[in-house]
């Protein structure tokens, strides 16, 4: 029988009625699933957009049947225009970075598991929590609305560089109301994330149960906590930036638009603004955003790996300190996105140094994972495969970061597919692998049913091989000078590269198609999967000490008491080679 703190938990009343239970729920678990669902919806849309782009890149004049019904101006006769290609690119990037990579690993899993892993009955501010999800949902609807207005989505990319994003339709289609919707959507998204981050921080600081000291929190909780600290600062800067951009565009102010700017043969009625200011504000958010995407995945991967290895990490604490260092350094490196922006070359040097420094904690974390794997009797399942896949993606994508961190090399590579390959692997796909790993690991807890392992492994191998086929060639294309953001490659010097692009496109279709296995597994297992026990992985953290799925009040109105560090594996415990965090038994080394 587990010991419980004598202190009663003050939880909100059990939810009643469909709306309160499933729609406007105050329960962090339902909200976590809602974030995950929103991320899943966004990733499907984002992936279809990438298919359209890849198709257009290699068959620029081919017709895509039915697309003209979706956008008459963007795809007349079903053929994507170069401008519409840029619109698709903008929406792909925005959806993926904001609504997938921020929503799923951080807000989704974090909401579900952070309170449970620290022994709390809910978030500190359940109403704020509900508001933060619905605010994010409204942001999503506003963004998607850009597809359905006559103006169409903006062509300014997910970074919305001013002044082109600020001068309206003179600069191209989609830059009128399309750009407005983008700006409003991101501003609203920022509010949602700020509320969410505030909640995460307050919950972690105030609601830890008895015995749950900061250093006893699992790696995943630490990652969400550090991420929420980064998010709080990053979104607090992007929000003012969006406000100023919207004002420049609609109210005639000149924060970002310089004097004498002629766009579309028209002199723009602005004076004195600084286009670099937008880039500074955007990337001050944008680079930490990379870590908002990757840190939760690192936490999830550590959490999954250690349970699969059945032995402790070489040093779990060093992983935490390294994650903190990454969080801190993430504030000093934004300028490495601006090496070719025309800022002072000496500033480039200043930004290059911390960028190279940030590779040190990232390398330390990777080496601890690899070193811990040495000699481990690792249990291979879908969750651990995706965790290992994460390490592979993170290393492969991270190595190209060493090159890009140096201005002298970046100036050559910056506008090429090398950068596209780099960030897709190290941030995009790696974080997605973290999400997959977390899904296979926690699905039994979240739904009460096991996922199908055979389908899971099939899904892994298709995805793992597929993503290498897609994103490794990007690096080679970039090295030979293949520019990015172009909608087709018909120039003589790029035409010989088309076979590589065709290979990538086919790989993208197959890899994307393989995700149907995952979606099928998700739906099938939800209804037909084997019943999951409370602790299917023999894991140690608090989420495994409650039934699957957890009751609405998590710990039955009590607070558990925590006795141990999170990862007591490879020991002699009463249940096997592990001791749970809330088990009062002594640790006996094996």
């Amino acid at each position: 029988m587990q010991e419980h703190s004598a202190q009663e938990a003050h939880v909100h009343a059990p939810p009643e009625g469909f709306l309160r239970k499933h729609v406007f729920s105050l329960d962090h678990k339902v909200i976590g699933k809602q974030y995950y669902g929103l991320g899943l919806t966004a990733v499907i849309i984002g992936m279809v957009l990438s298919w359209l782009m890849r198709f257009h890149l290699v068959w620029p004049t081919a017709r895509i049947p039915g697309l003209e019904l979706f956008s008459k101006a963007g795809a007349p006769g079903g053929v994507i225009t170069p401008e519409y290609y840029l619109s698709l690119m903008t929406m792909h990037g925005t959806l993926m970075v904001f609504f997938v990579l921020t929503n799923a690993p951080f807000a989704g899993f974090g909401n579900y598991f952070l309170p449970i892993q620290i022994g709390a009955e809910d978030m500190a501010f359940p109403r704020f929590n509900m508001m933060s999800f619905w605010t994010t949902f409204v942001a999503f609807v506003i963004l998607i609305a850009a597809f359905f207005i006559p103006d169409g989505p903006p062509i300014s990319g997910w970074t919305a560089y001013a002044p082109l994003s600020a001068v309206g339709n003179d600069a191209g289609p989609g830059l009128g109301w399309g750009q407005n919707l983008w700006g409003i959507s991101i501003a609203v998204f920022c509010i949602g994330q700020l509320l969410g981050s505030l909640n995460f921080i307050a919950t972690t600081l105030d609601l830890r149960t008895k015995g749950m000291t900061l250093m006893r929190m699992p790696a995943s909780t630490w990652a969400w906590f550090i991420t929420s600290c980064i998010g709080l600062m990053a979104f607090a800067v992007l929000l003012p930036a969006c406000l100023l951009l919207i004002l420049d565009k609609n109210a005639g102010t000149s924060f970002f638009i310089p004097a004498g700017l002629v766009v579309g043969d028209k002199l723009q009625p602005h004076a004195g603004g600084s286009p670099l200011l937008w880039q500074h504000m955007f990337w001050f958010f944008g680079h930490p955003e990379v870590y908002i995407a990757i840190l939760p995945a690192m936490g999830i991967v550590s959490h999954v790996l250690v349970a699969s290895m059945r032995k402790p990490m070489l040093s779990a604490k060093v992983i935490l300190y390294s994650m903190m260092s990454i969080g801190f350094l993430s504030w000093l490196v934004w300028g490495h996105h601006m090496f070719v922006s025309g800022m002072n070359p000496f500033s480039s040097l200043l930004f290059s140094f911390p960028t190279l420094t940030i590779t040190i904690p990232a390398t330390i974390i990777t080496l601890i994972w690899l070193g811990s794997l040495y000699g481990a009797n690792i249990q291979i399942n879908s969750a651990s495969l995706f965790a290992l896949g994460f390490i592979s993606m993170f290393v492969s994508g991270g190595i190209s970061g060493f090159f890009l961190a140096q201005p002298s090399i970046d100036i050559y590579l910056h506008a090429t597919y090398f950068v596209v390959g780099h960030f897709h692997m190290v941030m995009g796909v790696a974080a997605i692998f973290g999400i997959f790993s977390g899904t296979y690991f926690w699905f039994p807890k979240m739904s009460g049913r096991m996922m199908n392992e055979t389908l899971g492994k099939l899904h892994f191998w298709f995805t793992f091989v597929g993503t290498y086929c897609i994103f490794m060639p990007f690096h080679y294309l970039g090295l030979v000078g293949n520019v990015r953001r172009y909608s087709s490659f018909v120039d003589d010097f790029m035409a010989p590269l088309l076979p590589v692009h065709k290979f990538i496109t086919i790989a993208a279709f197959i890899t994307g198609g393989a995700q149907i296995i995952f979606l099928f597994n998700l739906v099938y297992s939800r209804f037909r999967g084997e019943q999951a026990p409370a602790n299917p992985w023999n894991a140690t953290s608090l989420e495994w000490s409650m039934p699957s799925p957890p009751p609405w009040d998590n710990f039955g109105g009590k607070h558990p008491v925590v006795y141990h560090d999170p990862y007591q594996y490879g020991v002699k415990g009463s249940k096997g080679d592990y001791v749970m965090q809330d088990s009062p038994e002594a640790i006996v080394e094996e």
Partner: protein, 214 residues
């Protein structure tokens, strides 16, 4: 969010878990659950960060060289006085409330009175800021007239929005204090008070930026 009837009696300290296992409990003293005090400070940090971003933007923008100083209407100083006074009256309200452990009606009424005055001052500040905008407009200074007027409108506007958030918090306290059976957490009062004082501090900072830089 759960509410407990004030005054909330702190729960008895939980019995120490068994120590015979040799496991060291690094526990903390029991805390009232769901009563987060950190939230308001975290929020204040985020707002500070946003205004730091505005300030950095102001400095960068000033480098463009088209900086034309704005003469700020004097009314803005009166508004400052009103906002600072409201902090004092709110402090009176807080003290009246916290000094009444048994929640005597008299003490609550006293607290309500001070809260009402604070609310009136808060509203007066926002209206006053709007009148400052009107006076600026009368001078021919609109949002888009020049970079200085742009920043002036943005900084005062965004600050006023945050003050309106504080006014909502004050109204919530008043609504909760009016019924005979008061259900209000001590932390709700403290958090609202901290936020309101921060609005004053933030305004003093912005006033400094506005008078020195704009």
């Amino acid at each position: 969010m759960a509410t407990t009837t004030f005054p909330s009696v702190p729960p008895a300290a939980p019995p120490l878990p068994p120590q015979d296992s040799g496991t060291k409990i690094v526990g903390k003293k029991p805390r009232p659950t769901s009563h987060s005090q950190s939230g308001v400070w975290v929020g204040i940090f985020a707002i500070t960060m946003s205004f730091a971003a505005f300030t950095s933007a102001l400095y960068v923008r000033q480098g463009s060289g088209d900086w034309i100083h704005v003469i700020v209407p004097r009314l803005i100083y009166m508004n400052t006085g009103v906002l600072l006074l409201s902090s004092i009256t709110l402090e009176m309200a807080r003290r009246a409330f916290l000094r009444a452990p048994e929640l005597e009606r008299g003490a609550i009424r006293n607290s309500l009175l001070w809260l009402g005055i604070t609310l009136a001052f808060g509203l007066a500040f926002v209206v006053g800021q709007y009148l400052v905008w009107r006076q600026l407009a009368a001078q021919g200074l609109y949002l888009a007239t020049n970079s200085n007027s742009s920043f002036l409108y943005v900084l005062t506007g965004v600050h006023a929005l945050h003050v309106l958030g504080g006014i909502t918090g004050l109204s919530r306290l008043i609504v909760r204090m009016i019924p005979k059976h008061v259900t209000l957490r001590r932390s709700s009062v403290t958090n609202t008070v901290i936020y309101w004082h921060f609005m004053g501090v933030l305004w003093l900072y912005l006033l400094l930026v506005i008078t020195v830089r704009l």
